[in-house]
């Protein structure tokens, strides 16, 4: 229950946040930050418990008919993510209160960001796959609101939609995959599915499940070629970028892949897809970062790189190195990237621009921020003794230990990290060092709310690097064990000695520094531009083309179906009816015609002839009078048929109604124009064919039904009870006012309403209202 309650509290606080903001003013941020702080403390208590007792599970039923439970599974993996989410969340709320100080929508920011935090915690803690999905989608939704925070700008609206659609598409695939997985694995609880790995991997649906689940993870975690939404999402205010788009939400996909690794991982397909897409994303992301000069874009692309790295590591996750690397890299990345994003935001906030080319020498104005940036960047560059160094070492070790193509993966990792080193330098050094430049705003040190986060996160990166033992046993090993599906115990040390990997690290650093100095040349080069076009712009364009194509199809099909012409509509309706009835009769039953033709008398043939003639005259009539007379002829011959077949009431009624109809026509037709216009010959032929088809279908069905006798039970009952029980000699009337009086009640209601309707049609004068918009 504890986890659920903590989430519920989070929800309540989220919805109270706008009110709090109004009531508490500038202190609201600090008060609200208590929530993530408390949550961090709460989740920290799980760390020793898990180390001692293993994973915990809590569950209450939610929608039992669909096997949906509010169940939570707390193990090393989920607790690591929960700590990152709530811990970084604490600094983000503080940071946001400074960054958006005085903004009229600050309350809405608090609401959305807190709601996001709760959703994200739900994702990483949920045990039930549907519950997980619920939270997963909630993160998409809150992300939509946050990216569109500056909603009066079209770019923000578009970016919000883009992120929502890309992750939403994946989300739907994910839902399908998860449900199929539950079918195959026999449970909706992840904790139980984890034990069904062999069943799942050997099932015929495995490929489908894997691809669907990965579609969800890849889109959420911005893997190539779906990565384009992430840089676009930088339209969001920087606290959002720092939180959602680097530290937390984008890692949801990584989390889920890690979570399901014991259940789905290890197959050739898994390795191929994850290692392949991961490595591609890693390299593409890292080098795209160097194609831009917008600080947030650079960081966004390096985030893509980080996510690619993690995906690749999970792909080759069969070794201890790989799973430990995932754990370490996740933590390290969240720390330094969160810090650097906030730094970028501070620069933007204080200097009024975040283009690297437009800022410089800010070190003097913003010393604390500069220091935090430096420390975080050193970790990102993977330099001793920072935590990022350990992470990078593990990445290289894992690549080396990979079962297939280790050299290729290692080479790609180095290639990516070279760019990463350069990017770290660009972000952390360029704005703060070198000559001071004039910026749109006069820069000052950011307020404490805005530097606290970067400083603490950056220092944590240093602390964990210096003393990795602090977290190795309680946190990293349980995480690695959860991913591997078996206990893992690796000793985390800063200094491995002079290993080949260290050599590669040094090489990476050297090359990275080289690239750093050549950055401007690279960025201007045709190759870089082509690279950006091919891997940065093209996927996004493909997205736009898909949307356009979809709209084109939508337009095309709607124009065909909803043409605006009543005659098209009717033709379709009649044609469909004729086809449905006719085809079904012929294919499911066949044609059987009844006998009894010889019993038809001459008078009956004559009546039928009059009726047919009347109908034909009505069809071909050129004047309204002829038409009304013809319709009268049809009506009266129908009345005669009723009379000849023992239905006097019917006959009288038909005649009365027919007369009244003629009166109505007389009253209305004098106001209406003549029978022009006339249709083209082709259209008349087509209409005749469609109409005849349905008429023929009706006749055939009737003839078929006539081959069998009808059950007389109702008729006999009415005969027996009409006078005896219902006191009436006219059985038809008794049916109308007694046996089926409810029909008659409905009937007179129809008539009455029709009367009122005619009255309104005639008497209500439409006032001249303005054109275009409908009224009220």
């Amino acid at each position: 229950m504890g986890v659920l309650i903590s989430l519920l509290i989070g929800c309540v606080v989220a919805f109270a946040a706008p009110l709090l903001n109004r009531a508490a003013g500038s202190r609201a941020g600090v008060i609200l930050a208590l929530l993530p702080l408390g949550l961090t403390a709460y989740f920290a208590t799980f760390v020793p418990r898990i180390a001692a007792e293993g994973a915990l599970r809590q569950s209450i039923a939610w929608v039992p008919a669909l096997n949906v439970n509010l169940s939570f599974y707390v193990d090393g993996l989920s607790v690591l993510f929960a700590l990152i989410i709530s811990g970084v969340g604490f600094f983000i709320v503080l940071y946001g209160s400074g960054y958006l100080k005085g903004h009229r929508d600050l309350g809405r920011f608090y609401l959305a960001v807190t709601l996001f935090m709760v959703s994200m915690l739900g994702v990483v803690l949920a045990d039930n796959i549907i519950t997980l999905f619920v939270f997963w989608e909630l993160t998409s939704f809150t992300s939509y609101l946050l990216i569109g925070f500056n909603h009066e700008q079209e770019r923000a609206r578009k970016a919000a939609l883009q992120a929502l659609l890309v992750t939403g598409t994946g989300g739907l695939a994910l839902l399908g995959g998860l449900i199929l997985m539950a079918f195959v694995g026999g449970s909706y609880e992840i904790s139980e599915l984890l034990n069904q790995g062999e069943v799942l991997r050997e099932h015929g649906l495995y490929t489908a499940i894997l691809i669907l689940v990965l579609a969800g993870c890849f889109t959420k975690s911005a893997q190539f070629p779906f990565h384009f939404w992430l840089p676009a999402a930088m339209e969001a205010p920087t606290p959002v970028s720092a939180y959602l788009h680097s530290a937390t939400m984008v890692k949801a996909g990584v989390y889920l892949m890690a979570r399901l690794h014991p259940a789905l991982g290890g197959t050739d397909l898994w390795i191929l897809l994850l290692a392949g897409f991961g490595a591609a994303t890693m390299v593409i992301g890292s080098w795209l970062a160097l194609c831009h000069s917008d600080l947030k874009r650079i960081l966004a692309y390096t985030t893509v790189m980080g996510l690619g790295t993690l995906t690749m590591l999970l792909g080759i996750g069969q070794t201890e190195y790989a799973v430990v690397a995932v754990a370490v890299f996740t933590l390290a990345h969240s720390l330094y990237k969160g810090a650097l994003f906030m730094v970028a935001g501070s620069i933007d906030h204080e200097a009024g621009t975040r283009d690297v080319g437009e800022v410089g020498g800010l070190r003097k104005a913003m010393p604390i921020t500069a220091a935090a940036a430096l420390v975080a960047a050193l970790s990102m560059a993977g330099i001793v003794p920072f935590f990022g160094f350990i992470a990078k070492e593990f990445v290289y070790e894992a690549a080396l230990a990979a079962g297939s193509l280790p050299r290729l993966l290692l080479a790609l990792a180095i290639l990516a990290n070279v760019a990463g080193v350069a990017a770290a330098g660009i972000v952390a050094l360029k704005p703060f060092y070198g000559p001071v430049r004039t910026t749109p705003k006069h820069p000052h040190e950011a307020p404490i709310a805005m530097w606290a986060g970067p400083v603490v996160l950056a220092l944590l990166g240093l602390l964990f690097g210096l003393a990795p033992g602090l977290i190795a046993a309680p946190l990293i090993n349980p995480v690695a064990g959860a991913i591997a599906g078996a206990p893992v115990s690796v000793e985390l040390v800063l200094w491995h000695g002079f290993t080949p990997v260290l050599g590669m690290s040094l090489m990476t650093l050297a090359l990275g520094i080289g690239v750093f100095f050549l950055w401007n040349t690279w960025r201007e080069s045709r190759f870089a531009r082509g690279f950006n076009r091919a891997f940065g712009v093209a996927p996004e364009n493909a997205y736009f083309r898909t949307i356009d194509g979809m709209l084109w199809i939508a337009h095309w099909q709607t124009r065909i179906f909803q043409s605006g012409y009543l005659r098209h509509y009717l033709t379709t309706v009649i044609g469909v009816t004729a086809f449905a009835v006719g085809f079904t009769l012929l294919s499911r039953h066949g044609l059987v015609l009844p006998g009894g033709w010889s019993a038809i008398t001459f008078y009956e043939w004559t009546l039928a002839g009059i009726m047919a003639a009347g109908a034909l005259v009505a069809v071909f009539a050129r004047s309204r009078v002829t038409m009304v007379v013809a319709i009268g002829a049809v009506g009266f011959s129908v009345a005669l048929i009723y009379l000849a077949n023992s239905a006097p009431d019917l006959s009288i009624t038909q005649i009365m109604v027919e007369t009244l109809t003629v009166v109505l026509f007389a009253l209305v037709l004098i106001h209406l124009p003549s029978l022009r216009p006339v249709e083209s010959r082709a259209s008349r032929l087509r209409d005749a064919a469609v109409a005849t088809a349905l008429g023929a279908a009706v006749t055939l069905v009737m003839l078929t039904v006539l081959t069998e006798p009808i059950s007389p039970h109702l008729t006999e009952y009415f005969g027996a009870h009409s006078y005896v029980t219902a006191h009436g000699r006219n059985i038809v009337n008794v049916i109308l006012v007694d046996f089926r009086a409810l029909d008659t009640l409905g009937e007179i209601v129809v008539l009455g309403i029709a009367g009122l309707g005619v009255f309104a049609l005639v008497k209500l004068r439409a006032k001249k209202r303005r054109d275009g918009g409908a009224d009220v």
Partner: protein, 503 residues
């Protein structure tokens, strides 16, 4: 006595008749409008309680035993539908207080509203096929008049298309009734179900079923029979659009569910497979129609079509979970869709247009309205944990269980497009700044209650939004109850025995 079942017909008729007689007293009509709905709501709750505690309720009209008279029957599905009808009636009656002009009121708006509900309830409650035809006609003629009431150009155009196509549908229905009567000699649906099973050729029964598939398909607005709906729903006042959106097409869905679970289950491999694919195409074509619209209510109208697809998808799957999905979807959709129409009216009242390009700035100035839009809109798009998610989830699980992967794929994809079009409204009408070149707000046009009316209009909006949330968070309870409904529908003997008496 189960005279309870008569009341959903008698109460609206009574209030309708009183409103006809008191046609010059608008104040009385307005308050009777709301009062009638409240009474109806109480009765519908009583019916639901009755069904929950006593099983299927049956009332033989005129004390004639079935199948000789007309039987009113209420099972779970009926009880749900009657209840939701009453809720929608109340919501729209309140909304109408601020939305309907005095001119329309004096020409019978309130009697029509009452009697529309009478017809709708009649369809839900009747156990007799011909009687169902009669109630369909009651519903139709009132909807005709409501649609045309006001005699404006667009209304006339919309009404011509609406009336004509629906009359064709009625006549196909009537012919189908005649043909089924010719095969079985009965009109009572329970009796008919028994006798249809005894017909030698199931193929002939299937042929007869096509009359109903088409006719109810037109009313339900499925592909390719939906044209009347987008042609007309955006033309009357919002309150009328809203009650239409709430009820009319769903009556068609109800009728489809009823006859294709009770009467036509001889060749489900044929009939229900058709329904399933019709469902798939309907949801796709509807949503594609929606994404290209730029008029608030037209967009919503096409969405109705799309969502009808989901509603009959569960019927096509013909499994307990599938039926649960259908039932849940109907209920959820009525609430959410009606609410969106109501919101469109408020947006129009504020900004003076239904056209997205003339709307804007609502998020900035009316944050509460924005939330009231987001809830039904994202609920409709199937966003968890709102009600639409559970409906869609149920259908997805049922569909995957039946190995109908393609249909499920389409259903999920359509959810995405739904989201796309809902965010289109949100981005244009709410997020975008208010454009400067726009027509005068409706509130400033003479003869229409001013912005003061918005408070009244918000009452039902909030009510329905709360229902969407509650239905989402409390889905567990509702799905359990829906399961009872599905079991009842799939086990025909319970219905048949309840009507005809235990054998």
């Amino acid at each position: 006595m189960d005279w309870l079942l008569v009341l959903p017909l008698a109460i609206p008729l009574f209030f309708g008749v009183v409103s006809i007689l008191a046609r010059n007293n608008l104040l009385l009509q307005r308050w009777f409008g709301v009062l009638g709905m409240v009474v109806l709501l109480v009765v519908s709750i009583a019916i639901l309680i009755g069904v929950r505690t006593q099983g299927i309720l049956v009332d033989q009209m005129g004390n004639w035993i079935a199948p000789f008279g007309i039987t009113l029957v209420a099972d779970h599905l009926t009880a749900f539908m009657v209840l939701i009808t009453a809720i929608m009636g109340l919501a729209v009656a309140i909304y109408s207080l601020a939305n309907i002009d005095a001119e329309r009121e004096s020409f019978g708006y309130y009697p029509l509203l009452h009697i529309l509900l009478m017809g709708v309830n009649g369809v839900f409650l009747t156990g007799d096929l011909f009687n169902m035809y009669v109630w369909f006609e009651v519903m139709l003629i009132t909807s005709f008049v409501l649609l045309a009431l006001g005699n404006r150009k667009e209304q006339m155009d919309g009404a011509i298309k609406y009336v004509t196509i629906n009359l064709v549908s009625s006549l196909v229905f009537l012919s189908g009734v005649g043909i089924l009567y010719g095969m079985t000699g009965t009109l009572n649906m329970a009796d008919m179900a028994v006798r249809l099973d005894a017909v030698d050729s199931p193929g002939l029964v299937t042929t007869a079923s096509m009359f109903f598939l088409v006719s109810f398909g037109i009313k339900a607005a499925v592909f390719p029979l939906f044209f009347w709906l987008p042609a007309s729903y955006h033309t009357p006042p919002v309150a009328v659009s809203a009650i239409f959106a709430a009820l009319l097409s769903k009556v068609g869905v109800y009728a489809l569910i009823r006859v294709f679970t009770l009467l036509f289950v001889q060749e489900t491999g044929y009939t229900h497979q058709i329904i399933l694919w019709v469902a798939a195409v309907t949801m796709l074509t509807g949503v594609l129609g929606a994404v290209m619209q730029t008029e608030f209510r037209k967009l919503l109208s096409f969405h109705i079509i799309s969502q009808i697809g989901y509603m009959i998808m569960g019927l096509g799957l013909y499994s307990p979970l599938g039926i649960v999905g259908s039932v849940f979807y109907v209920i959820h959709n009525i609430i959410a869709k009606t609410n969106l129409f109501l919101v469109s009216g408020v947006a129009n009242r504020i900004a003076g247009s239904f056209h997205l390009k003339h709307l804007g700035g609502l998020y900035r100035k009316h944050p509460f309205l924005s939330i009231m839009f987001i809830i039904p809109a994202f609920g409709l798009a199937g966003f968890p944990p709102l009600s639409g998610f559970w409906a869609k989830l149920t259908l997805t699980i049922a569909g995957l269980d039946a190995r109908e992967y393609v249909v499920v794929g389409i259903a999920l994809f359509v959810g995405l497009l739904t989201l796309f079009s809902m965010t289109k409204i949100f981005a244009e009408a709410f997020w975008k700044p208010l454009p400067s070149d726009r027509p005068k707000p409706a509130a400033e046009v003479e003869g229409i209650p001013g912005v003061a009316g918005i408070r009244t209009m918000m009452v039902p909006i909030v009510l329905l939004a709360v229902m969407t949330v509650v239905l989402g968070l409390g889905a567990g309870l509702f799905i359990n109850v829906s399961l009872d409904a599905a079991e009842e529908l799939l086990d025909r003997t319970r219905y048949i025995n309840a009507v005809l008496g235990d054998p």
